[in-house]
Symmetry: C2
Subunit: 679 residues, 2 copies
């Protein structure tokens, strides 16, 4: 359903001012499976209490207590009467009555469904497992509404449960380390949008990030001191489990192992002086699959890590092996020849088949990227698909279970709308019910080449909420405009929850401007996005792990709201020109046109902004062209050809990147220019 | 020296736009002992490298590496060529050449002085200890300057060292728990302004916050799950030590021990059912000083904690014992009588004298609050003075060493100027050189009744930087206007460093407004401060540990800048009325007058703002009165008496608190009103 534009505007205006509007049940994200409004409400007052009946896991008491805290912080109502919810809180008259059949397991296929009824006298939240209750509590917090009588829950009935059982976020803590606190914050955000798997990408060429007691050189020599102690890992797992989130670790082998080889060079295929990789990309260092010591090492290491990470699934990476170090090693080539192996993928499959029993004896199911799917690999592995949809559907058709990450690479700076329409089971592909069952879900991937703890939230949020909805809600939920409307509301809730996607932006702006006054820089950066896909780190050589991530391309975020709204306004105005929206466009263009003068004053004090100067000048010139174009169009005059060519040159110039960023309003303004020339 | 106002304005305008102005050497905070400018500079370029010669502690390499990272992040210059500084970086040609005589000890009286020379070819930083170097690196980072040629260090020569050896911040992690991450952030800020003691107030009636392996019930029963593991503590101490900061723990006895008694009720003076205290204040529960088990317990506990916290000083609290539980216990009264003790302070002194040997055998020096200073207490204890100056000078005159906290209670919401003039050795007190030596320094105290990790930074910063300067810089440095000018610059640097005093404010505003648009709320809260001293938590009964700290009084901060500037403008205008500044005053008054209408729109959606409504209405009415008053004054007319009385009533009404906040511009506007009536 596409809303008429006027209604869209109305909704946008109304709800952009607050998540606390009276239509809260229409603002839920992810959208629940079924919901029905009721003409009732439950007022939230200081006597609000929570009871739990049935047989929950103990974690639910902490989560219910956290619910009270969050409700109190959101509404400002002192709910001090019930500091904590515990097993003695079972009164059936409580304002929120929770009922659970059994403790939930932190496992794939666990029941996460819930049923929520808000009536005039009580909220009832029923679920098979306490994990279902935890999902329902997040729904309830999104429902908090207000009017001049105070805060309340709107009357309704919700029956909800996930479409897919695996709704993950890969957080890469290897390329740039992320402190425990950052991970906890991320888990809070994930829980808020009902995600249930944190995939911890724990090592790569740049570092090994988990303390090993068996091989302490891994953290001592190969982490730059940036790693999680085992106690940290247990705390992360506890914190995640508290929110009904599983933690799946990834230890990448046999390639992307420069860090391991820095600590234990005797495991390498090629002898060299291994040091931690400071660049990002694909490199040759690789374990020697013909060396028995490698399996002894991995047996011990994976056995240790398997005990540390209780989840059934254990990810061994397996991606991006160049094969070059194998090729240049005669003993490895001889090994292959003796066993009739034709390609290096055959050798990697051999390697994987020796790893799998190690995992199996530790009770683990092996996961890996696309590349581990080779002929002869046992059916109980799980494939994580990153290279393309064809391979994904091929694996599920071959009877392998798989999760989709292709299309969910949030590090590539694509808009939420792109990820949102990326359905793991699209209508366009013919799959049997059995094959569809093999599709476990998907994972957003936050690779960290170009993010640090200060900026990573702005890459994860709010876009990941759109992916979370894709993986939770019915496939029929796919109105992109409505997704963006609700994303704006969820983003505000995530901000209140402690995610720093919005609140770190002024810090970055102030540091760049060297000033409290950042307005001209903000006007500019609001229409910039970093270069997309893999363009920003040109040739994989512009950035190292030491490079500052405090510059223009770091404060610019994906999927900017200002250009999205402006481009929409231009599009609508072109199809239905009317004076009023036209006025808004001209106002915006005027701000951009005038901004360069103010920007240049900032620049004089802050040389770091030099790389923003061409963009600021381009934006100003482009906006001036846009204003002139609007005048032609409104006066129904045709611009002469000389004007048109000159302004098209301005637009072409405005497409040039600077500071690894691009202006996001060139297309729209060029359309106005072209229209003025064709009037 | 008080600057002429026009010059003040000029400086303020110039430097408020950036810390990167060319007068960086005049912006240092704390002000160094001596500095001399030179007509030279050292450009900061991509080839900038750091060398270390001499004999530093290993910590210096990590700090020098951190310096490179911060310099790179501040300037945007890729200093990737030197990812880390290590012991091989000794080239005498490096842009920054550090020279150290010996490793610094984390101890009171350690040498923290340094000498810094910036010439055209090189920066030289020399110090006796690497801790001195660490102080100098902070100075150097404050010196980063810029103009249209790029970033540079201005030429100068600085000889610097602290006035006092004990420059501390008490962080209360008992009343509200603060996560490790918050403590690390605080340590970064402390190091930036050269403070050197983190005083960790680790337990109180509301919780015991450090894991004990000997008495695990302390954290299991008496912390609500909010405590530091011993590994956490070691990490905090390591992180602090890295920045040349000592960590002094405080374990409060014999009163304020409800948490200990919740875990071990057999140690109490009075048998009752002990549970964690949820309110804040002074309570009766107290250890039984006549019970041998108490000393066995404290011997084991303090011995464990003495090993965990390596600092020589160990704080046992000792404050606020009501004595009531001792009084009502016949066996305790009998014990006192048998030993000829007349008062409960005698009994507490007896208790302290039994504690001291426990600390002494663990190599510790006992510290405590004022109350532990009683006749007969050994001279090697250190007194922390909180109740008044008289007691402070009395203790140093009696030969006790002491640190001053009276006047540095930053939880009481007083302005930086108040703390700034609070000199531990004021001119008005006659002390011998020997007595002055007993004054070790001071500590700002951040008690946490009414703060949580989201708001605490806004209470600590930037005001604590003014206290840091008082304790570091020569006593002659006391120009309050200049302190405020530099505080504004340091605040921006602290913001860039990761302190959240500014960046959390919009989060709080958005949560309160339930909206991205917070402008009307911001206009209002910018002229509000929370009730001061102990007024906010009326009768100690308004707040519990569960109360939300997300309301008006939490977003309002101490020492607001907007009223400070406005009040100054009014004061100056009254003494020298001229049209131009008058215009600024009227502009500001007009914003306030018009704000209420916009505010009321927010209020309609956000009932939590109800408590702000009277203040918003008062501000509007008061501003309207101010505008009228200005008109009278400018037209040299006298307002009639009826008008005067009516407007004075408006001003009186505007003094009423709401939401535990007060308007900060009533005095100024009332002056204008009065002036209009007396014209």
């Amino acid at each position: 359903m596409r809303l008429p534009y006027c209604l869209y505007l109305l909704l946008f205006t109304y709800c952009s001012v607050g998540s606390l509007c009276t239509y809260a049940q229409k603002d839920l994200m992810p959208v629940p499976r079924e919901f029905q409004s009721r003409d009732q409400r439950l007022a939230i007052t200081a006597t609000f209490r929570v009871s739990v009946t049935g047989h929950p896991d103990r974690r639910l008491y902490a989560e219910a207590s956290r619910f009270i805290r969050r409700l109190s912080e959101r509404t400002g109502i002192f709910l001090d009467g019930q500091g904590y919810v515990d097993s003695q809180d079972t009164a059936r008259t409580a304002a929120l009555l929770i009922s659970v059949q059994r403790p939930g397991k932190l496992a794939l296929y666990e029941d996460e469904s819930y049923h929520l009824e808000v009536g005039a006298g009580q909220v009832r939240l029923n679920a098979v497992t306490d994990i279902g209750v935890i999902r329902g509590l997040e729904t309830l917090l999104q429902l908090v509404s207000a009017d001049n009588t105070g805060y309340y829950f709107p009357g309704l009935s919700v029956s909800d449960g996930p479409r897919f059982g695996w709704r993950g976020l890969l957080l890469d803590v290897a390329l740039h380390f992320m402190p425990v606190d950052e991970i906890k914050r991320t888990l809070d955000g994930m829980a808020a949008v009902k995600m249930n798997v944190l995939h911890l990408h724990a090592c790569n060429d740049q570092g090994f990030r988990v303390e090993s007691k068996v091989f302490p050189r891994l953290q001592e020599i190969a982490s730059d001191g940036l790693y999680y102690t085992q106690q940290d890992i247990r705390e992360i797992i506890r914190y995640a489990g508290q929110r009904g989130i599983r933690v799946v670790p990834e230890f990448v082998v046999p390639a992307h192992t420069t860090a391991i080889l820095t600590a234990y060079p005797e495991l390498a295929s090629v002898k060299r002086n291994y040091t931690l990789q400071r660049y990002f990309g694909v490199f040759d260092p690789v374990l020697d699959p013909t060396n028995k010591k490698v399996y002894v090492f991995l047996d011990k290491l994976f056995t240790e890590m398997a005990a540390l990470f209780p989840d059934r699934y254990f990810h061994i990476g397996g991606d991006e092996n160049t094969g070059k170090d194998w090729e240049k090693t005669p003993s490895i080539r001889a090994f292959m020849k003796a066993r009739g192996m034709k390609t290096f993928m055959d050798l990697q499959t051999y390697f994987n088949r020796r790893i799998q029993p190690i995992l199996r004896k530790n009770g683990k199911i092996m996961m890996g990227w696309d590349e581990i799917l080779q002929p002869g690999v046992p059916k109980d592995i799980v494939i994580q698909s990153w290279r393309g949809k064809a391979a994904f559907y091929q694996s599920v058709k071959q009877g392998y279970r798989a999760i989709l990450s292709n299309g969910y690479y949030i590090d590539l700076i694509q808009p939420a709308s792109f990820h949102y329409i990326n359905d793991p089971v699209p209508d366009s592909v013919l799959l049997t019910a059995e094959e569809i069952k093999n599709i476990l879900g998907g994972e957003a991937t936050m690779w960290s080449e170009l993010v640090n703890p200060e900026t990573v939230d702005s890459r994860i949020w709010p876009r990941t909420a759109a992916i979370a909805e894709r993986l939770w809600s019915p496939s029929s939920v796919k109105d992109t405009d409505d997704m963006y409307r609700r994303l704006d509301i969820v983003s505000l809730q995530l901000d209140a929850l402690g995610l720093r996607h919005e609140s770190n932006k002024p810090v970055l702006l102030r540091r760049l401007a060297g000033s409290w006054d950042t307005r001209p820089l903000e006007v500019l950066t609001d229409v910039l996005e970093p270069l997309k896909i893999y363009e920003r780190n040109q040739g994989d050589t512009m950035y190292t792990v030491f490079s500052p991530l405090t510059k223009l391309a770091d404060v610019a975020v994906p999927d900017q709201r200002t250009p999205r709204i402006f481009n929409r306004q231009v599009k609508d105005w072109i199809s239905h020109p009317s004076p009023d929206p036209g006025q808004k466009i001209i106002q915006q263009l005027t701000i951009w046109k005038d901004n360069d003068t103010a920007f240049r004053k900032l620049l004089a004090r802050s040389p770091v902004l030099q790389e923003a100067a061409p963009l600021s000048a381009s934006l100003s010139a482009l906006a001036a062209a846009g204003i002139e174009a609007m005048q032609y169009i409104r006066e129904h005059k045709k611009a002469d050809n000389e004007w048109l060519l000159r302004q098209l040159a301005v637009a072409a110039h405005a497409r040039e990147q600077s500071g690894r960023c691009e202006l996001q309003v060139v297309d729209s303004i060029q359309q106005l220019i072209t229209l003025a020339g064709n009037n």
